[in-house]
Subunit: 209 residues, 2 copies
DNA sequence: TAGATTGTTAATCGATTAACAATC
DNA sequence: TAGATTGTTAATCGATTAACAATC
């Protein structure tokens, strides 16, 4: 397979475009130009066309793009044309919020397995999913074939949870613990640190003074 | 003020360095080299030095950096040497998770005001903060001088909440609603879309097949 | 002094923007 | 055909990496 390196920024923008196209489609818009999309999401028209050009030709010169078609194509590119099984580890406040986050379900992510150590939580049902004890992580994740793991445990436990998720066959990890995880290179890893976002804001506020 | 443009990637890395330095300090390490930091957080030593060079000279040639000093300097750069008052709007699952997120408090962010429309929530206390009705947003935010707003309401309400936060005097907004907000250029805005992170992962997984 | 490591410059790499031929 | 808009190439911009003089 030809693997022209795609910038991560392009992937993130494709995700944004897809939401905009979904909305445009709901409003009954049939055809859209790169300029329309660009205005809608705050980038340049050239950027939109360049991002799409990595993956093929989806428009018609002089006309634009068919909204439904382009939306479908982008979802396919993002790997969202099928449902992904996600295992969530850690059912604190953040875990609970993630387990019921509509934005995940809308995009085809199913949090079908939830793990915690708290005996008061294990066995209860959250959003129709029975909470399992973390001891059963390998068995359950492996049996259900979850491809993605979300880590929402305290920082001190994150590495061992990552190790166990990987042993259980997970191929990608979204880590919410504020700690640098060591994973083999073939495992996809993304770290989400919510405080960092606030810090970018305060840096800019502090600059203005 | 000399305003050499600082890459946002640099700010994000400074935030990561600061956590690593905090840990190193707790472990009793007094002096650290750019190579040590680089290994610890997964970047190149040159990158660490370059990032720091935007803001001054903090090390000693042939020796390295004093951990405590460098940590303090970076916190200062990030605007974290004082406490920031943050107003949270929307107390759904995500809002609740954010309101009790330890990572914020540790870094000097105080969520001192919380707003919702649900009568069952208004008047209750969450993490020692009394939940106010959204009708009182302008009055309360203005009176308390909150500088940062966090939007954790459904997408359809996000724009009006943003408008009201800005009218109340907020200078920066962290938006968790999956919608493009329109704000004046002087307002700092960052969008956090949790689903996008999963989509970057699935894109990479889909590529591998 | 010799070894180590910073701060900084120059070289490289990569991403964005501008421009325009192709074409509906 | 004339106007519009894509797809793509070239030019620009910006960020990262490499190299090394400065210096502890």
């Amino acid at each position: 397979m030809k693997t022209l390196k795609i910038p991560e920024a392009t992937i993130i923008r494709l995700s944004v475009y897809s939401r905009y196209l979904y909305m445009a489609d709901k409003r009954g818009i049939v055809t859209i130009s790169s300029g329309d999309i660009a205005d809608g999401v705050g980038v340049s028209p050239a950027q939109v066309r360049k991002d799409l050009a990595y993956f093929g030709e989806f428009g018609t010169r002089g006309v634009g793009y068919n909204v439904k078609d382009l939306h479908r194509h982008i979802l396919k590119i993002l790997g969202l044309s099928s449902i992904w099984h996600v295992a969530l580890v850690g059912l604190g406040n953040l875990g609970l919020a993630l387990s019921s986050y509509k934005g995940f379900r809308e995009r085809g992510f199913c949090i079908c397995s939830i793990f915690d150590t708290d005996p008061a939580k294990v066995g209860t049902t959250v959003n129709e999913v029975v909470v399992e004890h973390i001891d059963r992580l390998e068995v359950v994740v492996n049996a259900r074939g979850a491809q993605i793991g979300i880590i929402a445990v305290p920082a001190g436990f994150a590495q061992q949870v990552a190790d166990r998720l990987i042993k259980a066959g997970v191929k990608a990890i979204l880590n919410f613990a504020p700690v640098v995880l060591n994973v083999p290179p073939e495992i996809e890893l993304r770290n989400v640190d919510l405080a960092v976002h606030l810090e970018v804001l305060t840096f800019n506020l502090a600059l203005q003074k």
